[in-house]
């Protein structure tokens, strides 16, 4: 890019360089000159409605708003002249006319923009003696508390809904004195990014409901962290009081989360303090759980695993959650391999392992690059709910004119324009094969596919776009034919020149691959000397000893029934866990309490491969200890070499050395031409993992579980044809049956679910007894 011309302006006697057309307020902000504002936000459109940023500009007869004024060469601005000050003071007086000034009982008190600016720019005393306006209380759902009497009508929240969340839920109804911000009719605000309006609101009108009346801003210590749920790795600030996480705020990082975080990242901290947190080590004796000292519990765990390994090391199987830290994952694989086994995996929800997949998978591009694509093809992805901030980037691309296509087993509610190709599971493979053939590359399934005009159009767009990407989402990764989907996707990428990417499901999915938590690759994603069983085969041919790190077998595995059966039959199951999950109580022999999110130091590797480290914000609850420490001691007790770390940084440094030279790459020649496993003629389950069921922490976050997204997950969904065949209708209670196991659910008739499919969520209570996430299922009338 050529060097852009700059112009010179003068603000308060200071000479500033600026780009022509830049907003005056952006130029002064960059120079550290403070101009008060309420409605202006650099990520939102300019409203210029609050008038707080009025400044005096030479040769302009009246004060003008800095947020809506473009700089011009030679402009002379006064932000503190008598005219500017009088304008600001007058505006402040008007803004306070209807404001209740109830700061002592307002949650925003102490971190309120109105309070701060009133101190700096307002009068001591108001001349207003008339009655103030009062707005009746409204309920907008479990996450946001409202006190609209405090609202100053800046409309940041309204613009956020329109421009960022892509869902206009709030608006300004009425006019003049009677104008109020709200939903008008009583309903909840349901966007998965809704919590950001709490940060945007410059007053106490929109505050956090779970945090309400819990603490004052000045009592909180702020510690940097990284969000633990999706693969964005949003930068957050954890606010702590007396060793308790009180709330979570976003931390600005333009390359990752900009200034936003998803509701899941914001409100999941509540799950830290659920009643079933494990705070003391437990040992199962004669079928009953008993509390034990750390010494006894660690000894029992080490003895159990060592005795299994001594007889046959291959009988050890290690299942790790991809939400664990890099350090924990690295030590877990070090223990497993140290014991002589190679059975370790983090791909708990994957069921098709016919091809191993890339050693070091990734998004295929940086997160910021996603908003610059001209065309995208997403395969098996509900990106809006699974990686909300990646969806936000794609939405930006779409608004700029990018064409986005989905090949999915269900229709999505999206917040941007996209073409959705919806079919059953087998149909997905055929559709993708059609696109691959139209793109002119593939040998995969080539002889057996028909190419539709839609396939041709998608292939053509991917080819002609300046920058295109093909992304495999959570649903694809759990698909019974993932290896074929991957092969087809790579073939399309190869023949169209599009970047092939994976949308990793969990916070540390990529980290787990780097840490060597896979059976074929060791630390640093180097081919392992000895290869072992993957997450599925470890359960299909049950092991005698299992080491579990951070997972709930009934909710985190692709096939919970299979997982529970395999674990129940084992001689020794050692679980490092933050929670007393029912499925662990059933199947484990020793439970070691480890620190959850915010309670341990560590590192997550996000979708673009960035290592983001964090310290522990609070000490683990009760006797729980950071996972890496527990694994270190476990390694030592089993006389394994190289477990004498003093800090998690030492663990990380060791892994970092092993990772030297490792480059993320979704290799393109990884093609499989296997048989399609998803049966076309039979009824198949679409076992999507809903947004608030993704991991153990968020499943326990009380407020999130009351949201519409969570409530909508507690049903079975089928279209009218499928429901009609089973003789059931909307609202009926039905039994879904998988492998002899039944779960009773209310049926919703939903046209978005394709023929031959029933949507039954995975990872939610009630799904523990069911089988494969994407397996055969039947629907019965109760």
């Amino acid at each position: 890019m050529s060097e852009e011309k700059t112009i010179t302006i003068e603000v308060d006697g200071q000479t500033l360089e600026a780009k022509p057309g830049a907003l005056l307020i952006d130029v002064t902000d960059a120079a550290g000159i403070d101009i008060p504002r309420f409605c202006y936000h650099n990520k939102l459109s300019v409203a210029a409605s609050c008038r707080m940023c009025l400044v005096e500009v030479e040769k302009v007869p009246k004060p003008i708003p800095a947020c809506a004024t473009q700089v011009t060469d030679g402009m002379k601005v006064q932000t503190r002249s008598p005219v500017a000050l009088a304008a600001q003071k007058g505006t402040m007086e008007f803004l306070l006319i209807n404001h209740p000034l109830d700061c002592p009982i307002c949650d925003q008190g102490g971190e309120c923009e109105l309070q701060d600016v009133a101190m700096g720019y307002g009068s001591d005393v108001s001349r207003f003696v008339e009655g103030k306006r009062v707005v009746p209380q409204t309920d907008v759902g479990p996450l946001i508390a409202t006190d609209m009497t405090r609202c100053i009508h800046c409309t940041r929240c309204v613009r956020f809904g329109d421009e960022i969340a892509g869902m206009r839920e709030l608006g300004a109804t009425g006019r003049g004195e009677h104008m109020t911000i709200g939903t008008y009719i009583a309903h909840s605000v349901d966007s998965e990014l809704s919590g950001n309006v709490i940060d945007l609101c410059p007053v106490g009108a929109l505050t956090s409901k779970p945090f309400r009346y819990r603490a004052r801003a000045w009592e909180l210590t702020r510690r940097d962290g990284v969000a633990p749920h999706d693969s964005v790795g949003s930068n957050i600030q954890i606010h702590v009081r007396r060793n308790r996480v009180m709330r979570v705020h976003p931390r600005e990082n333009e390359a990752v989360n900009e200034v936003w975080i998803s509701d899941r990242d914001r409100f999941s901290y509540e799950g830290l303090y659920s009643d079933d947190r494990l705070t003391r080590p437990l040992i199962k004796k004669n079928g009953a759980w008993a509390e034990a000292s750390w010494e006894d519990a660690l000894e029992a765990a080490a003895r159990g695993l060592r005795s299994v390994a001594a007889a046959d090391a291959d009988q050890i199987g290690t299942l790790v959650s991809p939400t664990a830290t890099l350090e924990e994952l690295y030590l877990a694989q070090k223990i497993t391999r140290g014991l002589g086994s190679a059975n370790i995996d983090h791909r708990l929800r994957q069921s098709d392992f016919r091809s191993e997949g890339p050693a070091f998978p990734w998004l295929g591009q940086s997160i910021a690059e996603l908003e610059k694509v001209d065309a995208a093809l997403l395969i098996g992805s509900n990106v809006r709910k699974d990686q909300p901030l990646l969806a936000h980037r794609l939405r930006k691309a779409s608004l700029k004119g990018a064409e986005v296509h989905f090949v999915n087993p269900l229709g999505l509610d999206l917040h941007f324009d996209a073409n959705q190709v919806v079919s059953d599971l087998a149909g997905m493979v055929h559709n993708l094969a059609g696109i691959a053939k139209a793109a002119g590359g593939s040998k995969v399934l080539a002889g057996r596919v028909s190419v539709s005009d839609e396939h041709k159009a998608i292939a053509k767009k991917l080819k002609s776009a300046g920058s295109a990407t093909i992304l495999l989402g959570n649903l694809a990764q759990s698909h019974p034919d993932y290896s074929i989907l991957y092969g087809l996707a790579s073939s399309i990428a190869e023949s169209t020149g599009a970047a092939l990417g994976i949308l990793p499901a969990a916070a540390n999915t990529i980290g787990a691959a780097l840490a060597g938590a896979v059976p074929k690759y060791g630390a640093g994603a180097r081919p392992a000397e000895k290869t072992g069983l993957n997450a599925r085969t470890m359960l299909e041919s049950p092991r005698k000893g299992y080491l579990l790190l951070g997972l709930e077998p009934g909710l985190d595995c692709a096939n919970p029934a299979l997982a529970k059966q395999a674990l129940a039959g084992a001689e020794c199951v050692v679980a490092l866990t933050a929670y007393r999950s029912p499925s662990l109580e059933e199947t484990a022999d020793v439970m070691l309490p480890i620190g959850a999110f915010a309670e341990t130091s560590g590192t997550f590797v996000n979708a673009e491969g960035a290592w983001q480290g964090f310290g522990g914000a609070v000490a683990p609850l009760g006797e729980a200890r950071p996972g890496w420490k527990v694994l270190r001691v476990l390694g030592n007790l089993m006389d394994l070499k190289g477990f004498d770390y003093l800090s998690s940084e030492e663990v990380r440094d060791e892994l970092q050395q092993a990772c030297a030279g490792a480059r993320p790459e979704n290799d393109l020649d990884n093609t499989t031409d296997g048989e399609i496993q998803a049966s076309a003629g039979k009824l198949m389950r679409i076992g999507e993992v809903p947004i608030y069921a993704a991991d153990a922490l968020v499943r326990r976050a009380a407020a999130l579980q009351e949201t519409k997204d969570a409530r909508d997950a507690a049903v079975a969904r089928a279209n009218a044809t499928v429901a009609g065949k089973a003789g059931v209708g909307d609202g009926d209670t039905v039994a879904v049956v998988q492998g002899g196991q039944r779960a009773k659910l209310v049926l919703r008739v939903d046209a978005r679910v394709p023929d031959g499919c029933v949507w039954v969520a995975a990872g939610v209570p009630g799904s523990e007894s069911l089988g494969d996430q994407f397996g055969e299922i039947s629907l019965e009338k109760v």
């Binding site: 329109d162 206009r168 109804t173 009425g174 046209a751 978005r752």
Partner: protein, 168 residues
């Protein structure tokens, strides 16, 4: 999915109303259907006995591909959209300066007594409702009122009686 998203555009309103709204939409450039929101609300309000319900506003939103809240904003901003039932004849009495000076108070008092209703109320038989409005630009004929699309000027209690008798 909310009930709204399941609304089928071809089944909203009656064919006549759809045609009328489509005529309004056609006045604006392609892709700017929402510009017709005020006209659409007026058409729908007229069809609905002079007032808007939430369902009707939601239908307008669905028809024009707008978020419902954006329609509520418009419908609550302008005072000529009604959100409560009105009489078959909505008597809009101006009480602004010129009318007030020329005795609009007496007109209002007369109506209060004669019809037994106050601002915003509807007579029991549903024939009349009263609405206080600001200047309608007919100061030359003050005091005045608007009923439907017609202005009645230089009102006195006597002329008012005969006007009311003529209104069904």
């Amino acid at each position: 999915m909310s009930a709204l998203e399941t609304l089928n555009k071809d089944e909203l309103f009656t064919p006549e109303i759809r045609a009328e709204i489509d005529r309004e939409i056609a006045k604006y450039p392609e892709g700017q259907k929402q510009s017709a929101v005020m006209a659409a609300l007026r058409i729908v309000q007229d069809d609905n006995g002079g007032w808007l319900t939430q369902e009707r506003m939601d239908e307008v939103a669905a028809y024009l591909d707008m978020p419902p809240i954006a329609v509520y904003e418009v419908a609550t901003f302008y005072s000529m959209y009604e959100h409560k039932p009105v009489g078959r004849n909505k008597l809009c009495i101006c009480t602004n300066v010129s009318c007030m000076i020329n005795g609009s108070d007496k007109i209002v008092e007369h109506l209060n007594n004669k019809l037994g209703i106050k601002w915003g109320e509807v007579t029991e038989d549903g024939r009349f409702s009263l609405k206080e409005v600001e200047c309608l630009g007919a100061c030359g004929g003050a005091p005045m009122m608007q009923v439907g699309r017609k202005y009645y000027e230089n009102l006195t209690p006597e002329t008012l009686d005969s006007i009311l008798d003529e209104l069904e």
